[in-house]
Subunit: 244 residues, 6 copies
C-alpha cells in the first residue's frame, strides 16, 4: 500500500475536523450547522402537521428530506435549481438517501400523523456534503423530536438509535477516510457508508470511478468507515448531551 500525502498532513484514517453548531437559526424546530473541514451544511428539521396521501389512515408519521446547494457553494458557480426549473438527478439521489438513512432510526408509528421535514442546504462544498448532511440532520432531528416531547405532542421518543455517515475511498490503491473534494475527484473508488450507533449498516454505496475494486479493498474501506462513523457518533452524543 502506498503512502498518500493528504491536505493539512491528515492521516489516511483521520476525519477532517468536525464541528456541530446547534441552534444556528431561530425558526426551525432543529437547526444545526455541520462542518466536515471546509464543507459546511445547514441541516434543519421542521415539524409539519400533515402526512403524504399514501399514509392516510395508517396512524403513523413520515420523515422526508430535501437537499440543495447554494449557487456559490462550489469553486465554479452552479446554476440555481429554482431558475433551471427542476432538481438535478444528483440532488434527488442525495435527498432520497438522506431520507432513507434517517427513517431507518425513527419509529414512524410513534410520531403521530405528522411529518419531520429535513432540509440540508450546502453553504460551502469541499466533498462529503451528503454524508455531512446525514450526520448533521440527525442532530437537528433530535432537537425537533425533543420539542415534540416537551410540548407533549408525542409521549415517547421515536428515535431508535444514532446514525451518521462518512465517505471512504481508494486513492492510488490506498484506502482513505472522509474524502475532500480534491481526493474525491481523483479517487478510483468512492463509497458512502451510513451506520447506526450500534454498528449496524444502513446503507453502503460504492462506485468504481476508474477501475473495479476487490473484496479485500471493500473490506479495508468498510473498516475505515466503521471507525470514522464511531467517532462521528461520539461527537453527536457529546453535542446532544450538552443541551441546547
Amino acid at each position: 500500500m502506498n503512502t498518500i500525502s493528504r491536505c493539512n498532513d491528515r492521516a489516511p484514517a483521520q476525519l477532517r475536523p468536525v464541528k456541530l453548531t446547534r441552534g444556528y437559526t431561530r425558526y426551525a424546530a432543529g437547526s444545526v450547522l455541520i462542518e466536515y473541514g471546509e464543507t459546511k451544511v445547514l441541516c434543519q428539521a421542521s415539524i409539519l402537521e400533515k402526512i403524504p396521501s399514501f399514509l392516510k389512515d395508517k396512524e403513523q408519521g413520515w420523515l422526508t428530506a430535501e437537499y440543495g446547494m447554494l449557487p456559490c457553494s462550489t469553486g465554479e458557480r452552479m446554476q440555481r435549481e429554482a431558475v433551471k426549473g427542476n432538481q438535478s438527478g444528483r440532488t434527488m439521489e442525495i435527498q432520497r438517501l438522506i431520507g432513507r438513512a434517517l427513517r431507518a432510526v425513527v419509529d414512524l408509528g410513534k410520531l403521530g400523523e405528522r411529518t419531520l421535514q429535513i432540509d440540508c442546504d450546502v453553504i460551502q462544498a469541499d466533498g462529503g456534503t451528503r454524508t455531512a448532511s446525514i450526520t448533521g440532520a440527525f442532530v437537528a432531528l433530535c432537537d425537533a423530536v425533543q420539542l415534540l416531547l416537551t410540548q407533549g405532542a408525542i409521549q415517547s421518543n421515536p428515535v431508535l438509535d444514532y446514525v451518521a455517515a462518512t465517505s471512504v475511498g481508494l486513492v492510488n490503491g490506498c484506502p482513505l477516510l472522509d474524502l475532500d473534494y480534491a481526493e474525491d475527484s481523483s479517487c478510483d473508488t468512492d463509497m458512502n457508508v451510513v451506520m447506526t450507533g450500534t454498528g449496524g449498516l444502513i446503507e453502503i454505496q460504492g462506485t468504481a470511478e476508474g477501475q473495479a475494486f476487490s473484496r479485500q479493498q471493500l473490506d479495508a474501506m468498510l473498516d475505515l468507515a466503521h471507525q470514522g462513523i464511531g467517532e462521528l457518533i461520539n461527537l453527536q452524543r457529546q453535542v446532544l448531551a450538552a443541551g441546547q
Copy 2:
C-alpha cells in the same frame, strides 16, 4: 403622531443592529453575510466570463442578481422553489430590484465582456430581506471588483458610488425606519428606498397596504430613509476600509 413601542426599545428613527461579515465563504469572488437584526442574508458575487446574448458586440459587461430563501428561513417553512419548479413572482420582483439597484452605480463599460453575478440567499428572514440584500451585495460586489483590479483583468474601478437600501413604513400613522417582520405585517404603508452615497434616489417603491398615504407622510418616510441609508453607507465605508 402616536408613540409606537418597538421591539428592543428601538426608536422610530433607529436602524436595527447592522453587521457585515466579509469573506463568509471561500469560493465566491465576494462573500458577505449581512445582518439587519435577526434578518440574515448571504450575499455573494461571482465573476462569469460571459455576457448575455443581447449585449453581444456592445463592448460592455453586465450585472445580474438572483435571490432565494432557504425553506426554513421563515417562521413557517416555505416550499423550496427548486421543488416547486419555478421562482415565485415575489422572488423575481426582488431579484430584478437588486440587479437594477446595483447596476445604477456600476459603469458596465469598464467591466469588459464579463458578468458580475450576484446571489442573495436568505438564511433567516425577519423583514427587510430585499433591502439588506442590496446593502450587503454592494460590499460583495466591491470585493469582486477589487479581485478583478488585482488580477489586472480591468484597469479602472467601475464602481461609481455607494448604494444601500432600507425600508420605511407607517404603523398606526407613525413613520418607522427599517421595519421588522411584525411591523411589516401590520403597517399601513411599506416603502423600500434605494439611495447612493451622494444622496441620489435610485429606487422608491411605496405600497399602501391598508389605507392610502399622503404626500406629507411620503415626505416623512423619505426623510427617515435618507437618514438611515446614510448610516448604512457609513458602515459600508468602514467595512471596506478595514480591508478583508
Copy 3:
C-alpha cells in the same frame, strides 16, 4: 429646465388621448378597452365563485389580476409566454401591481366568498401598459360589481373609491407626464403612480434608469402624476355615469 419636443406636439403635462370603451366583449362580467394614445389594453373582470385556500373560513372575498401581452403587440414580435412555458418576471411584477392597486379600493369583506378575477391583455403596446391596465380594470371591476348588485348576490357596493394610474418620468431632466414607448426608453427616471379619487397615494414605483434623481425632481414628478390621475378619474366618472 429644458424644453422637450414630444410626439404630436404634446405638452409635458399633457396626457395622451384616453378612451374607455365599455362592453368591448360579451362574455365577461366587465369588459373595457382602454386606450392611452396608441397603447390599447383589454381589461376584463370575471366573477369566480371560489376563493383561494388561504382565505378559507375568513368570510371575505378576493381580487386578483393576470396580465399578458399578445405576441404582436410590440414593435418586434415577442415570444408567446404559453409557448415558453412560464410568465416572465416583468409579467408577474405587473400583475401583482394591478391586483394590489385594485384591492386597495375594494372592501373584500363585502364581496362574499367569491373572487373578482381581472385580466389585462395588451393588444398594442406604446408605453404605459401597466398604468392603463389599472385605470381600465377599475371600470371593468365596477361593471362586474354592478352585475353582482343587480343580481342581488351582494347587498352593498364594496368599491370604496376610484383608482387610476399614470407614469411620469424625467427626460433630459424635464418632468413629463404619461410616457410613450420612445420616451420611456430614453428617460433618466421612470415612475408609476397609483392614486385614489380622494388624492391618496396607493403605490409609487420610481426607478432611476440612467442617473439618480433628487427629492425636488421627485416632487415635480408627483405633482404631474397628481394632476394626470385627477383627469383620468374624471374620465372614469363620466364613463361610468353614462351607463353601459
Copy 4:
C-alpha cells in the same frame, strides 16, 4: 331531413355575417380582425429573419402558426395557458392545422431564408375559431407578403392560391354550415374543411361526436363546405382588392 331552427333565422346553408378588418393593429406586418358572427379572432403575420434549424441550408423559408384564446373569450373564464405553464392538446392541434393549411398555398422556396409567423388570438369565441383563424390569417399573410414585395426583399409572390375554411356539421341529422358554439355543442358530427380558391381540398377533419355518419351525409356536408368556402374566398378577394 328535419327542419332546424337556427339563431337569427339563419338558413342551414347560410354563413354567419363575416367581417374582415385589415390593419387592426399597427406593429405586425399583417393584422386582420376576422369576425364570424360573434366569433372574433385577431390574426397577425410577422416576418422573422430566421428559419428553424431543420431547414438550414435548404434555401427556403418557413411558415408557422400559434393560436391562443384570451381567458375571457369564452362564456366561462378559461385558465390562462401562460399561467398553467403549457399549451393544451387542443391548442397545439389547432395551431398545427393553421400552419399546415397556409403552407399548402405558399411556395416556401420563394420566401428566402425567413419565417412567416402567424398569430391567431381569439378575442371572443362562439364556435369556429379555428376556421375563422385560417380565413383571417390568409389575409394577414397576404399583407405581410405584400410588404416583402414592396421592400424588395422577395422578387415574386410566393402565394399560390387563396385558402379559407369553414365548419359543417350534422344537427339532428340535418347538415348545417358554419356552426356556432351552441350548434357545435349539440351536433352529431362536426367537420372542419379547408379549401383553396380553385376548389381543391387541403384538409378535412370530420368527427362523429354522438353517432357515426354515412358517406351520404359526408357528401352533403362537403357540398355545404364547398359553397361556404367559395363565399369566404370571394370576401377575401374583395377585401384584398380594396387596398389597405
Copy 5:
C-alpha cells in the same frame, strides 16, 4: 392512374400483414401487441376506479388514451418526452384521436364511475402508428370490459360496435391503402379513417401534403379505407372469438 410499385409487391388496395397478440403482458386488464407490417404498437387497457372531476355526479364512466413512442422506435432516435418535459403537439393530437375513436363505440353510462385508461406505446414505427393503435386498443378494451363483466363489476357490455382504423393516401396520384413510412413521407395526401363494424364513419382526417386533392380522389380513398377497415374488423372478430 399510374402503377405504383410497393414494398414486398404489395397491391395498392392491400393491407400489410396484420397480427394481433392478446395477453402480451400480464398486469394490464387488456394487453395487445398489434403489428401492421413492421409497425408494432403495444396497446393496453387499465381499469381505474376513478373519474375525471368534470364527470362528478353524472353517473357515468370515462375512457381516455395516452400515446408514446419509445426513443428507438424510429429510424433516427427520438428524444424521450419524459426527458424533454412535455408531450409534443403530435403526441397529444394522436392520443386525443384514439380516445375519441374508442369513446364513439362505448356506452359510458354502462361503465359505472370508473375510467378505461388506454395506453398505446410504439415499439417500432413504420407508418400508421395511430391507426394501428386504434385497431389494437379496441381489442385490449374488449378484454378489459370482459374482465369487468366476469368480476360482476358491470352488468351489461358497454361496447356498442367494433371500431378500427387505417390510413389511405395518394402517391403520384394513385390511391394506396395502409401507407408505410416511406410512402407516407412521399405522398401527396395522407388520410386517416376510423370506421365502425357497421360501416359508419367515426373520424376522417385528410391532409394535402403536397397539392390539393379533389372530391373524386377523396371518394377513391374512402372506398379503399372502407374495404381495408372491413378486413381489419374481421381480424378483430376472429381474434376475440378465439378466447384469450
Copy 6:
C-alpha cells in the same frame, strides 16, 4: 438461518430464468430484450454522432443511459412521466447507475467523438429492472460497437470487460439471490451489485429497509451476487458468441 420458500420452488442462490433476445427491434444499432423471470426490459443502444459540450475538444466519446417504465408495466398502472412533465428521482437514480456501470467497461477514448446512447424501457416489472437493464444493455452495447467496427468507424474494440448486475437481499434474515417484486417488497435489506467479467466490483448499493445489516450478512450477500453475476456473464458470452 431460516428456510425461505420462494416462488416456483426457487432455491435461495438461484437466479430466475434469464433470456436474452438480440435484434428485438430493427432500427437501433443494438436491441436486446432481457427477461429475468417475469421482468422484461427492452435495452437498446444508438450511436449519436455528437458529444456533450463538457467533452468538447477532449478527443473522446461518451456513453449515457435513459430508463423508463411503460405505464402498464406494473401491477397498478403508473403515471406516464411524459404526462407528469418530468422524470422521478427513482428514474434518474437508475439511469445514472446504468450509465456509470457501462462506462466502467468502455474505453471512451477509443469511441471517437460520438455518444453511445442506451435506452432501457421496462415492458413488464417484477423486481430487478435496474439490474436486468445493465445486463441486457451490455449486450446491446456490444452489438452497437460491432456495427461501428464493421463500418470502420472505429479501429479497435473499446469494450474492456463484461459487466452484469443482480440484486441480493435478506428476507427474514436469509440471503436470497435475484429478488422478485414480492421478495423485494418484504425484504430487510436490498442490495444491487454490479461486477465485471474478471470479478471486479463496479458498484454496490445496499439499503437496510427494515433493520440494519451486519458485516457478516453483507459478506453472505456479496458471495451470492458474485456467483449469480458469474452465471449472467456466462449467458452474455454464449449469446454474443452465437452471432446475431
